[in-house]
């Protein structure tokens, strides 16, 4: 496996869609390739930091307003 192959398997690696053989090839490659090791680690951190941070906070006030507006809109005509 070379660096380009690794890159093409990267998403499937994180989504746990790879065969055991491919996962082993990847860890074999990263143990000898500093660049790919960093890319793998920091891409993983990218996904995790987005999962762990609320970018668009919905405050209780906003949520209530939104909820009332939705209900008013849906049931206005009936």
């Amino acid at each position: 496996m070379n660096c380009t192959d690794l890159l093409s398997h990267l998403s499937d690696y994180f989504d746990d869609q790879l065969t055991v053989e491919l996962r082993e090839e990847i860890s074999e490659h990263t143990s000898g390739c500093q660049h790919c090791r960093v890319v793998l680690n920091t891409t993983h951190q990218t996904i995790e930091v987005y999962k762990g941070t609320e970018i668009y906070e919905v405050s209780p006030g906003l949520r209530e307003r939104l909820h009332s507006a939705i209900m008013a809109k849906c049931f206005a005509k009936k």
Binding site: L7, S11, T42, T43, Q45, I47, T53, Y56, R63, H67
Partner: protein, 208 residues
């Protein structure tokens, strides 16, 4: 001769019963569905449009559409995926209206490889969470994802922020599974590259 049916042990999603009740005019059941998904729909709309007022309008319109079209919902997909699809379409329409000259479409493949080839090879140390507080982090992440093409940031949002599966994302966006995968990879790599500016390990002797 009737086919022999194997016993169905598949678990039925709780939304199925709520949708059935809502179809029969049970407003409490529909309100329950609204409560369950209003925040998610709002977040998705805000991610795509990058505008809070638009996102509020879209959320209302999406639920209204869902309510009016409830009879057309066949239950082949999850109710939430169907709802996200409506919200994505409303959001894209809003984007198109805003930028009259530029077309905004999900199936238009963004050909640029720019930013998808890794260039920054510094580790992120300490962790982003140790370098910045929550508010600063949210600010950095918001600015960074805003720089991605809409097609990329939408796929990333559905997969990695809202945790839809690859198949559900494909369905919500009207894309093939391979198209979702290729956009997701490029979105993740571009975000990684851009975030490295903030999070990369500072070299000794370099001004922070």
């Amino acid at each position: 001769m009737p086919a022999i049916q194997s016993p169905v042990t598949e678990e039925v999603h709780p939304d199925v019963a709520l949708v059935a009740r809502a179809k029969e005019g049970d407003t409490a059941a529909f309100e329950q569905l609204v409560r369950q998904y209003e925040r998610q729909i709002f977040r998705v709309a805000q991610h795509i449009t990058q505008n809070r007022e638009d996102a509020e309008d879209i959320t209302q319109d999406a639920f209204l559409k869902a309510y009016e079209k409830l009879d057309q919902f066949q239950g082949n997909s999850k109710f939430s995926t169907w709802l996200v699809r409506i919200a994505v379409n409303e959001s894209l329409m809003r984007l198109r209206k805003r930028k009259t000259s530029k077309t905004v479409s999900m199936d238009e493949d963004v050909q640029t490889e720019e930013g998808s080839i890794p260039r920054d090879f510094a580790e992120w140390r300490p962790n982003p969470e140790q370098q910045y507080n929550q508010a600063e982090l949210a600010d950095i992440l918001r600015k960074t994802i805003q720089g991605l093409p809409p097609g990329f940031r939408t796929v990333f949002t559905l997969r990695d922020v809202e945790n839809l599966s690859t198949e559900e994302t494909a369905e919500a966006l009207g894309l093939s599974v391979p198209a979702v995968k290729s956009r997701l990879l490029r979105a993740r790599l571009q975000l990684r590259e851009r975030l490295s500016r903030y999070f990369r390990q500072k070299q000794e002797g370099q001004p922070a």
